[in-house]
């Protein structure tokens, strides 16, 4: 039986690998669709035919697109992300520090949102139909059906404009004390926590309710188990797989949220770097950032799938 689990997991990993290949293909060709000759644009005023010719050769632009794609992929695998067009720095150097900042933001958000969302989701499912449950449901639907920037602007309005507790902007490089740290991270983390938690609460609630509807939980109720015992001993262990799956899937929403949040709060993370790169059309930078995002996303949804496979007792 264990072989079946192993083969399912392996096939899922294989699918993820194939997907990654298709995605890198898509990212590369989407960015090379750019009209105009890169060498001419880069040289600007100094674009004599000889200089353009030389630069094209140096950048391998005279080769067919497919060759350049393979060269790019091999470079990525070796850790060579190319050189930024805008300031001639290696992309890897530009990204490294920013990437750590984004991971920090994501980590702190996960630290807050996962416990909050799980508590709210499970309790809402336990008290299904109650006023509390309806309040939670309305709140989550409200957050989900509103753009992320609106949650961010509302947070600024409430905490910075009306209550004056926190600064509206954040800079992560001048941290001297714990209170500084709190003030800087508070606003982005509050915004992201709202965005992520809403999804997580919904999915957790649905997963728990599904297990609460099964015959064995009804049996536990009928034989006289108390409500908490019914939920924690009988339902929850079986809902654990779907819940962890929901957590991993919801964390993938971080990627979309982080783009907006870093822009609005001037947070020096990788998403801000990418949005700025789009403005200057710095293609190597955009490609690398896009690949990092896709890789993170793929990692999370593959993890979610594998957890779902592993937690299914019928396959064990």
């Amino acid at each position: 039986m264990n072989n079946r689990v192993l083969s399912l997991v392996l096939s899922r990993l294989l699918i993820a690998l194939i997907t990654l290949m298709i995605v890198s293909f898509a990212v590369f060709f989407a960015t090379t669709l750019l009209p105009g000759d890169t060498a001419t644009i880069l040289l600007g005023q100094a674009a004599t035919p000889e200089a353009v010719e030389g630069l094209r050769k140096a950048m391998h632009l005279d080769e067919p697109a497919l060759f350049r794609f393979f060269r790019w992929v091999v470079g990525l695998l070796q850790g060579d992300l190319g050189t930024s067009y805008a300031n001639e720095m290696p992309v890897a150097d530009l990204i490294a520090g920013r990437f750590v900042n984004t991971l920090k933001l994501a980590g702190v958000t996960a630290l807050f949102s996962v416990p909050i969302a799980l508590t709210l989701g499970i309790t809402a499912a336990m008290l299904r139909g109650s006023l509390y449950d309806r309040a939670v449901t309305v709140l989550t639907i409200g957050v989900i059906s509103v753009p992320e920037f609106m949650i961010a602007t509302s947070a600024v309005l409430i905490f910075a404009v009306y209550l004056k507790w926190l600064p509206a902007l954040s800079f992560a490089n001048e941290v001297t004390s714990l209170t500084d740290l709190l003030r800087i991270y508070a606003m982005p983390v509050i915004t992201l926590t709202f965005v992520i938690s809403a999804q997580m609460i919904r999915m957790t609630r649905a997963a728990v309710i599904e297990t609460l509807n099964t015959p064995y939980v009804e049996m536990a109720l009928l034989k006289g188990a108390s409500r908490p015992r019914m939920v924690f001993r009988h339902a929850l262990p079986n809902a654990l797989g779907p819940i962890v799956n929901a957590v991993a899937l919801s964390l993938s929403y971080l990627l979309g949220g982080v783009i907006i949040v870093e822009t609005i709060f001037n947070y020096p993370g990788i998403a801000k770097l990418m949005v700025d790169a789009v403005a200057t059309r710095d293609l190597p930078l955009i490609q690398s950032c896009a690949m990092i995002f896709c890789l993170g996303y793929l990692l999370l949804i593959t993890t979610a799938d594998i957890i779902a496979i592993l937690s299914n007792p019928r396959l064990r």
Binding site: I18, I22, A30, L34, S145, V146, L255, G256, F293, Y297
Partner: protein, 288 residues
């Protein structure tokens, strides 16, 4: 049951409320009213503008709400109400066009994949799943970086992003229908794939597909607003609701109405669609 009668009854019923045995509850009606009024605003915007859209009419910038300027004025002193009414055209229009293309292509491909099966199904599903594993905002960013932003590019990008979802949904429904006896009978009768799709499968999945269209419309409105907010969507001098928030973000520290009202417009539209979908009569939602 034929395709034409079922779809027209669905449509007329959505407008008339409680005829033909469908029952809307009050929340659904509220949602529908808000959606219809935004649709009307989008169509008739130029006729009901209090001030010309591009004209600077207020001496103050980020003006407060007043009798002359109901929603205040923006960062140049333009009337905010006029700009929001005009913005409805871009937000509603672009999203509607994109969701129509996305759902049409997704549903057709999904039904074809379900009916044809075999390698066509496998390849389509694999490819669209791969497309699905690019985060939507990122996809928008990359495409806009590559080809620049214009309204046709936006519509196409948004629809490409949401085709995989529509495909998956329609395929899952169609696979269930495809296993039923009347499909087998139709196959034995020698009907073509086109006939199977159009006359046997589509009428049975049209309700859930319409509900799915509504949900996807919300996603597209949110993504479009997000892109516009990043400055990658509708380009100045035109502005949809997301771009209006971006333009006036400088007014945020003073709590200017120019930042708040475009956001509220987006929220009113998306929440109404969600409310309507959640309160659709069971008959429409669970037809399959």
């Amino acid at each position: 049951m034929t395709m034409t009668t079922s779809s027209t009854s669905t449509k007329s019923d959505r407008i008339s409320g409680t005829r033909l045995g469908y029952r809307f509850n009050i929340v659904g009606i509220v949602g529908l009213t808000v959606i219809l009024s935004w649709a009307l605003v989008a169509v008739f915007a130029p006729l009901i503008l209090p001030y010309p859209v591009g004209e600077i009419v207020d001496l103050d910038y980020f003006g407060p709400m007043s009798r002359d300027f109901w929603f205040g004025s923006d960062y140049l002193g333009r009337d905010m109400l006029s700009r929001i009414l005009m913005g409805a055209r871009y937000t509603v229009g672009i999203s509607l066009a994109a969701v129509t293309i996305a759902c049409f292509s997704g549903v057709v491909l999904g039904m074809v994949a379900a009916v044809a099966g075999g390698w066509l199904d496998t390849i389509l599903s694999r490819f669209l799943d791969a497309l699905n594993s690019i985060p939507s905002k990122l996809f928008g960013l990359v495409v806009v970086a590559a080809v620049g932003s214009s309204i046709p590019v936006l519509i196409l990008t948004l629809s490409v992003i949401y085709i995989p979802g529509a495909y998956r949904f329609a395929r899952a429904l169609a696979v269930n229908i495809n296993a039923m006896d009347f499909i087998t009978v139709a196959r034995i009768r020698g009907e073509s794939t086109l006939y199977l799709i159009r006359s046997e499968i589509l009428p049975n999945i049209v309700g859930p597909v319409l509900a799915d269209l509504g949900i996807r419309f919300v996603f597209i409105v949110l993504l479009l607003s997000g892109l516009s907010f990043l400055g990658l969507g509708v380009q100045p001098p035109y502005a949809d609701w997301g771009a209006l928030v971006r333009e006036n973000i400088g007014g945020l520290p003073f709590g200017a109405p120019a930042v708040i009202f475009p956001s509220l417009a987006i929220a009113s539209l998306t929440i109404s669609v969600n409310l309507l979908i959640d309160n659709l009569p069971q008959k429409i939602r669970d037809r399959a």
